[in-house]
């Protein structure tokens, strides 16, 4: 049995601790070990007949030893903050890349369909056929030769390449250069070099403060998000509560930004953000509370440990709390203000909502903060419900008869960080998928949705988690029927609820919503 939490070789926290304590010990050692006589004696005068002796004898090594723990933890925290920030920023570059590429694929769907060229290949069995055969006197035969030749060499048989060329996509490059990846850098350069404009009637102090609030709180979220068992900046006992509290501060900055810009669009956007906050924040917290209850801890690392099953359960929370996972996904999309819950920045009616008046690097940083929040949401989902840094079906695969050893080697070699990132990126692809296929709801609709559906469901989730923790869980690994039964029940419910079509309408017509004439008319019947 592998215990990756303790066995992960990428032990950055440990390295940092040993490095700081080693360097601090060195500092301690190079300090002079002899006592330094700092005694000062003031000779006697008429005012004090005896000479006064001030100051003790002190030892530099002893003095350093008293502040060494504080210095060590400060240096350790500095190193870990730098490491986590670097990891976060480097891996977050994948997020806009996924957004750009995946939504491009979704929107293009099958790719080359826009031109006549693609019709040579056809789709759904429909092709334009060999039109050159219709030219008189066999004039088209050479055209047919040329076309066939071209098609056989550069036709859509090389599907990816041709599809890219037809769609004017820069896909035909070297794949290892990740075409489009460095667009994020170019965007940043553009934002950084733009002029900073503050509206004349804006409340300038608040206008300048709002981006700082949004960005600072967003980055602070990552202080409590572990990227791996040994990669985190801070790990307090109640890290879950701490993190959720900071996660909820940014909408306040959004409201500040909307109000301070002194613009009607931004004002409405800020108001919407505040209204939206009341709809999703409470269900989100109750859902997370369910996870905490099930895992018996408010500490994120312990929540992951609970799913990994060193000596407790060994099932991912998504199989135990499928409802909680769905609720967390929905409320997190609302929290990070992505479609379908992006009313504060609804570009159709509010131009760009609360950030209409921002430009340049402030806009760029707030946009980066938006993606950071999405990224944090994805990582949190991976940590709370997808087993964090545990490889999928790790124990099962490692226990296989022949290939088990290979799998075990792989799981030992691959650090937990990789699994967290893969899970988070895949989850972000789900976010993009949702964005590409859904419309935007209205503010009153998300309020209704939040209070009428999400809140009761999150309480149900909490009850399920409590029952599981108190009645079913015994401290042993879960019996297999518990996760299987819960997951199956959730899937069945989902399928039943997803089929909401009106069956009577289906029987009468081909589609549920068919257009029909009220009165069958005949040609010319309206002629007077």
């Amino acid at each position: 049995m592998i215990h990756m939490a303790s066995g992960d070789w990428l032990n950055i926290v440990g390295w940092s601790e040993s490095l700081t304590s080693w360097s601090m010990d060195n500092v301690h050692d190079i300090l002079p070990s002899n006592d330094i006589d700092m005694q000062v004696t003031i000779p006697s005068t008429w005012a004090w007949p005896e000479p006064i002796t001030m100051g003790p004898i002190f030892n530099l090594q002893q003095g350093f030893a008293s502040i060494q723990p504080a210095l060590e933890s400060f240096m350790h925290a500095t190193i870990m903050c730098t490491v986590v920030f670097t990891v976060m920023m480097l891996t977050m570059l994948a997020i806009p890349y996924i957004e750009r590429k995946f939504i491009g694929r979704l929107m293009d769907r099958l790719g080359a369909t826009t031109t006549m060229r693609s019709l040579w290949v056809g789709e759904s069995g429909v092709t334009a056929g060999e039109w050159w055969k219709q030219l008189p006197f066999g004039m088209g035969i050479p055209i047919g030769w040329v076309v066939n030749l071209l098609n056989s060499y550069w036709g859509n048989s090389h599907e990816l390449e041709t599809v890219s060329r037809v769609n004017n996509r820069s896909y035909h490059g070297y794949w290892f250069l990740l075409p489009g990846f460095f667009q994020a850098f170019a965007d940043f350069m553009k934002f950084a070099t733009k002029e900073h404009i503050v509206p004349k009637n804006a409340d300038k102090v608040v206008f300048e403060t709002a981006p700082v609030i949004i960005l600072a709180t967003t980055i602070m979220v990552f202080a409590f998000v572990p990227f791996g068992p040994h990669i985190y900046a801070a790990n307090p006992e109640l890290s879950l509560l701490f993190m959720m509290a900071i996660f909820g501060v940014a909408p306040l900055g959004v409201f500040f930004a909307g109000w301070a810009s002194n613009n009607k669009y931004t004002l409405i956007g800020g108001m919407r953000s505040a209204a939206q906050l009341t709809a999703y924040e409470i269900p989100l917290l109750i859902t997370v509370l369910g996870v905490a209850v099930l895992s018996g801890s408010f500490n994120i690392i312990e929540i992951v440990d609970f799913q990994m099953g060193q000596n407790e359960g060994n099932v991912w929370n998504i199989f135990l709390l499928p409802l909680g996972a769905a609720l967390f996904l929905i409320t997190m999309i609302a929290e990070v203000e992505r479609i379908p819950f992006d009313m504060p920045e609804a570009e159709a009616e509010l131009v760009e909502g609360w950030w209409t008046e921002y430009g340049g690097i402030r806009w760029g940083l707030m946009f980066a903060a938006e993606y950071m929040r999405s990224y944090a949401a994805c990582i949190l989902f991976a940590l709370f419900f997808l087993g964090g840094w545990e490889a999928p079906f790790q124990h099962t695969l490692a226990g296989l008869p022949i290939v088990g050893g290979t799998f075990e080697t792989v799981f030992t070699v691959v650090p937990g960080l990789v699994w967290v990132l893969i899970k988070a990126w895949l989850l972000f692809a789900v976010f993009v998928w949702i964005r590409a296929s859904l419309h935007r709801v209205r503010t009153d609709q998300i309020l209704e949705f939040g209070w009428r559906y999400l809140l009761p469901l999150s309480v149900v989730n909490l009850v399920v988690a409590t029952i599981l923790r108190l009645e079913v869980w015994t401290g042993e690994p879960w019996d297999l029927w518990v996760p299987v039964a819960l997951t199956l029940a959730a899937l069945v419910l989902f399928v039943i609820l997803a089929i909401d079509e009106d069956e009577e309408a289906l029987e009468v017509q081909r589609r549920p919503y068919s257009t029909q004439a009220v009165v069958k008319a005949s040609p010319g019947s309206h002629r007077d």
Partner: protein, 378 residues
């Protein structure tokens, strides 16, 4: 929150063109609206008085950038009424097919713009991709990408090119498959249904009183389609029926207007396919430009006192041209050209429709009426 006026436009994502909608809001609720039109008034009617009958077609193309072909045809029918020209039947079939393909392209442009109005960008890309097929077809006919200048007084500029019929059939059939995908993205999405159903009610009798026509009116259950009620061209020869939505007692909502346009795209595709099949002389033959099969001789001058008018079912409603001939003193030019724009009449009504709904419904309602400002300001 106190009531305030918000000026949406002239540059605003909601407007779909260059106009201003002033909205008075109480918090998120719309209390009053006031449309402000006329930003791109070019004086097309006046320009037409200084052009001969063939030159005017070019200006009519530019009345609507999304539906150029229907507008030039709308003018041509009025001009033929004025000059009393018998159009060859083959030319009528070619025209009908071109008009219906343009109607599909226009509705696709509308659907593509309606997606971002309520927050879905994929629809836009998908629709523009299919619109590209239609524009390729029209480009083969007219030679240009947007402003085709295709009809002539007495016929059409060119016959169908070689292989056009085959390509058109393939693309239209492909398009009929693709419509089901839009329906999957719209009709089967609960988010779209809650955004469009029960929003922007327009009562049919009020629409009739305001003069609203076209798909917007048919969404309210009024079976009034000029192609059907007063058949011109060869519409009466083909097997079709105008799509009319069975709306609720409150009137037509955004969803009804969406449904009618999607159905109309189906009908238009079927009309174009039928026209290809029934074309006299066959769709695979090709006549030289000016051949009597596709272009009849037309007089260049209209006698004084004669008038010509024609109702035409444009992509957005009933467009109408009224032309007064000028006699010898005006030479080859008309005395007066008057244009009825359906959207010019619809916009004030649509603006009143959104009172009482939320700010987020403004683009949803306005977009569902399919505004086009080129023809509105003309």
């Amino acid at each position: 929150m106190a009531e305030m006026w918000i000026s949406m436009g002239p540059q605003h994502p909601m407007t779909h063109g260059l106009w201003t909608l002033k909205v008075k809001v109480d918090g998120e609720t719309v209390v009053d609206t006031e449309p402000d039109l006329g930003y791109i008034h070019r004086g097309v009617e006046k320009i037409c008085e200084a052009r001969d009958f063939t030159q005017i077609t070019t200006y009519c193309d530019r009345l609507c950038y999304a539906s150029a072909n229907t507008w030039s045809h709308s003018y041509i029918y009025a001009a033929e009424d004025l000059l009393e020209v018998e159009v060859p039947e083959r030319a009528e079939y070619i025209r009908l097919m071109a008009i219906e393909i343009q109607r599909i392209a226009s509705h696709l442009m509308w659907l593509g713009a309606y997606g971002p109005d309520i927050g879905n960008l994929s629809v836009m890309v998908w629709c523009l991709r299919e619109r590209e097929m239609m524009m390729d077809l029209l480009q083969e006919l007219g030679g240009s990408r947007m402003h085709y200048n295709f009809p002539r007084v007495g016929g059409v500029k060119r016959d169908l090119p070689h292989g056009f019929a085959q390509r058109a059939r393939a693309k239209l059939k492909l398009f009929l498959n693709r419509i089901q995908e839009y329906e999957a993205l719209f009709d089967e999405s609960t988010v779209f249904l809650v955004r469009s159903q029960g929003v922007g009610y327009a009562k049919p009798e009020e629409m009739v009183n305001h003069g609203v026509t076209g798909p917007n009116l048919r969404a309210g259950g009024v079976n009034y389609d000029i192609r059907w009620a007063h058949p011109y061209s060869v519409y009466s020869e083909l097997d079709w029926e105008p799509p009319v939505e069975r709306s609720s007692i409150k009137g037509a909502d955004c969803y009804d207007r969406y449904r009618v346009r999607v159905e109309e795209m189906r009908v238009s595709a079927s009309l174009a396919l039928q026209a290809l099949d029934k074309m006299p002389g066959g769709a695979d033959t090709h006549h030289e430009p000016g051949d009597p099969m596709i272009l009849a001789k037309a007089p260049a001058r209209a006698p004084e006192g004669t008038t010509g008018a024609h109702h035409f079912e444009d992509s957005r409603g009933e467009s109408m041209f009224y032309i007064a001939g000028g006699g010898e003193s005006r030479g080859k030019q008309p005395y007066r050209v008057s244009i009825r724009s359906p959207i010019f009449i619809t916009i004030p009504f649509a603006a009143k429709c959104m009172i009482g709904y939320k700010v987020a419904d403004i683009p949803a309602i306005m977009g569902s009426f399919d505004p086009c400002i080129g023809e509105t300001d003309r």
